[in-house]
């Protein structure tokens, strides 16, 4: 660019200015995207054909050995992989509840009363705080000893007594439900925690969407006698379609990336029953008890392929919309 004064290059530049400019602006992003996203994808696929504990020998050569599709064969027979996959599906399905729930709260909050902004902010609050904090709060909430669940159970089913050494203790007529240690319900417990901020997110999307709902159409609908559900279904919701689309997209992404909640609340436990693919991958490859990079990469590749299906659909949809819009 420094030789812009040179007549030939200047004329070439000026002739192709419109074509070149966008690429120039894209170069930094493309470069980083290639180095930090695209290359690692292929590296990790490549690594999934090796068995490797992440170590290099003293002379710097890798200790990895080529095993071909072995890791994928193992994956097929690995019950923990199927548990993780099943949990991923559970997350995906149950997380979708955030969309109607968010819509419901948004409709409820879309009123003009004094102080409404405060209520809106309060409902939005869980999305602002970190997922890790949400996980911690719910972890304590579920705690059978000092959590709300434990306290309520104690109040209902336990009586206070004094134990052998004279300290206060509780005699209970049953065992406290221990949500995060019960393999049957632990995943639901974590999903419930995850839904809390996700509902807030969907709510805010719908609230902004509701601002743009044309009031003349509502009035026209009202004149034609539409009320309640019919008004919502036939007049409001169609106008909220863009908001719904985004809400579904962020919810699916949120469900597939569920990692932090699991890491904070159960570490995949009890005995691996709350694992999802993302966490299982971390556990096998990077955690203290893992160090199986090849196998971890195989899990990552499978997760990537699953996401690819969804991402392709999403991109195709966007493309169609763009075309239709023109």
């Amino acid at each position: 660019m420094s030789d812009i004064s040179a007549p030939q290059s200047a004329s070439w530049m000026s002739r192709n200015k419109l074509a070149i400019a966008p690429w120039l602006f894209l170069v930094p992003a493309l470069l980083f995207f290639a180095v930090y996203v695209v290359m690692p994808i292929f590296e990790s696929i490549w690594l999934s054909f090796y068995e490797w504990n992440g170590l290099y020998r003293a002379d710097g050569t890798s200790t990895a050995t080529w095993v071909g599709f072995d890791n994928y064969v193992k994956l097929w027979d690995d019950p923990k992989f199927w548990t993780s996959l099943k949990n991923n599906v559970l997350w995906l399905v149950l997380y979708m509840l955030a969309v109607p729930a968010g819509l419901g709260i948004a409709l409820f909050l879309n009123q003009k009363t004094p102080g409404m902004r405060i209520y809106k902010s309060l409902f939005f609050f869980p999305f602002v705080i970190s997922q890790v904090v949400v996980g911690l709060i719910f972890g304590w909430f579920y705690n059978p000893d000092f959590g709300v669940v434990g306290q309520v159970f104690k109040a209902l089913y336990c009586e206070e007594t004094v134990n052998l050494v004279g300290n206060v203790t509780f005699k209970c007529s049953g065992t406290v439900p221990d949500i995060l240690s019960n393999p049957e319900v632990a995943t639901y417990g974590i999903i419930a925690a995850g839904l809390w901020p996700q509902i807030a997110y969907c709510m805010i999307l719908y609230l902004t969407g509701l601002n743009n709902v044309a009031s003349d159409q509502i009035e026209a609908g009202r004149l034609d006698g539409a009320k309640g559900w019919r008004m919502l279904w036939f007049v409001v919701l169609p106008q909220l379609r863009p908001a719904t689309f985004i809400a579904v997209v962020v919810t699916v992404i949120g469900a597939l990336r569920s990692f932090d909640m699991i890491a904070i609340m159960t570490q995949g436990g009890p005995f691996g029953s709350t694992n999802v693919l993302a966490y299982y991958m971390f556990e096998t490859a990077i955690s203290e008890y893992g160090e199986r990079y090849g196998y971890g990469s195989a899990i990552a590749t499978v997760l990537f392929l699953i996401m690819l299906v969804y991402i392709s659909y999403f991109l195709w949809r966007m493309y169609q919309d763009e075309k239709g819009g023109r």
Partner: protein, 411 residues
């Protein structure tokens, strides 16, 4: 791709070489504990080493324990120190197998460690060579509420039947015999290890963690059956799966539970929870089969010399230094653990005294299930232990699953 990684690693190494400009007389030591006590012990030892070897310029990199576990995987190849702290048993195996540590048999032979550190020699060895020098370890066993035992006129149980009888008395009086927190899994491995060491002995422990015995082997099944008896007749606190080992101190401190299978590092926890020295005491895990010689669990911390070390001569001097009786005495008094050198002196703390007596009689020193077994096996195994503790009826299914993992891990 491996080549690109290698190139970048080499570049990294070259870069750090240039920046740190290590000279011939420099000795770089990587250590892994920033907690006040352990840091003090290490710093004191290094200061003494410097005073004795004024010509050696010691450079210390002290890192957080968890960070060290990750960092060592890179720095052994990319920017190797001359000495690094690490763990013996299976934890050193990947590095030994990749040729990243050098054997130090000569250090052991020249300094009489073969006799003075005899108890730990097997643990420090692999492929017939010795790979490091330990500086400290600590005992495991049963910590119990002395005041509760006194109230119920119970003696320290010596045998399995006495333990079960004591449990019966505790339960009649509304005390849960054992506390434990299995959320992070490894605590359950402590119980398993002791049941296995007492049921089958040290050899079986080693053969199991080395993958030579199946989990469905009748001897291991017997261990699990004993564990079932312990759960049914003694019993652990409810909700242990949602507690960490620190959380599990609460019922112990409150007097709701009377015993805790734990390592000696937990004593601080009991004291912080408001218990005093007279309320707590230590006992070895009781005999199960009187014919099985007593082996104990005592994880050790050690120093190793990386293959890429630049100053191996002084590194060996340092290794010889850290196992000297006087150095180990002082160091372990500071950190409240046990010296490994049999000629070392110990502090007059009662837990340390009991631990020292216990470990000196031991016929074998196990490291810990998750240090003796390879990582992937340890993870699956400990999940299995936790699952078993929550539902003992799944025993055979769990053991068969662990067999499957074993086939996979020890190919």
């Amino acid at each position: 791709m491996f080549r690109t990684m290698k190139v970048s690693l080499a570049a990294l190494a070259a870069g750090s070489l240039m920046t740190s400009a290590v000279m011939a007389g420099d000795l770089v030591i990587n250590f892994d504990d920033l907690n006040p006590g352990p840091k003090q012990g290490f710093d004191d030892a290094v200061a003494q080493f410097k005073a004795e070897n004024p010509d050696i310029n010691v450079i210390v990199n002290n890192n957080d324990r968890e960070a060290h576990k990750t960092a060592i995987r890179n720095f052994l190849t990319a920017d190797a120190p001359d000495v690094t702290s690490w763990y013996p048993g299976n934890r050193m195996a990947p590095f030994v197998d990749a040729g990243l540590f050098i054997p130090v048999d000569d250090v052991w032979a020249d300094n009489g460690f073969n006799e003075d550190l005899a108890a730990i020699k097997a643990t420090m060895s692999r492929d017939g060579k010795i790979w490091g020098v330990p500086y400290s370890y600590y005992q495991w066993g049963i910590y119990y509420r002395k005041d509760i035992f006194d109230l119920l006129s119970l003696e320290e149980p010596q045998t399995w039947d006495e333990l079960l009888a004591a449990c019966g008395t505790m339960k009649e009086n509304g005390v849960t015999p054992f506390t434990i927190g299995t959320k992070f899994l490894w605590t359950a491995a402590g119980v398993f290890d002791y049941l296995n060491l007492r049921t089958n002995g040290y050899e079986v422990h080693n053969d199991l963690t080395a993958g030579k015995i199946k989990y469905t082997d009748p001897r291991i099944v017997k261990t699990f059956e004993n564990w079932k008896v312990l759960i049914d007749e003694c019993g652990f606190v409810d909700n242990h799966a949602s507690m960490s080992w620190q959380d599990a101190i609460a019922p112990f401190a409150n007097g709701d539970a009377a015993m805790y299978v734990m390592g000696n590092f937990s004593v601080d926890g009991y004291k912080n929870a408001g218990l005093n020295e007279d309320q707590i005491d230590f006992m070895p895990f009781p005999n199960i089969d009187p014919n099985v010689p007593l082996a104990e669990e005592a994880p050790a911390d050690a120093f190793f010399i990386p293959t890429n070390a630049k100053n191996k001569e002084d590194a060996k001097k340092f290794l010889a230094f850290v196992a000297r009786p006087d150095v180990q005495s002082k160091w372990n008094k500071t950190i409240g653990q046990l010296p490994i050198n049999a000629k070392a002196e110990i502090s007059d703390d009662k837990f340390i005294q009991e631990g020292f007596a216990l470990l000196n009689q031991a016929t074998g020193i196990a490291q810990f299930y998750d240090r003796d077994a390879p990582a992937a096996m340890a993870k699956a195994g400990m999940e299995g232990f936790q699952e078993f503790m929550l539902d003992t009826s799944k025993m055979m299914a769990i053991l068969e699953r662990l067999d499957g993992v074993q086939d996979e891990v020890y190919k």
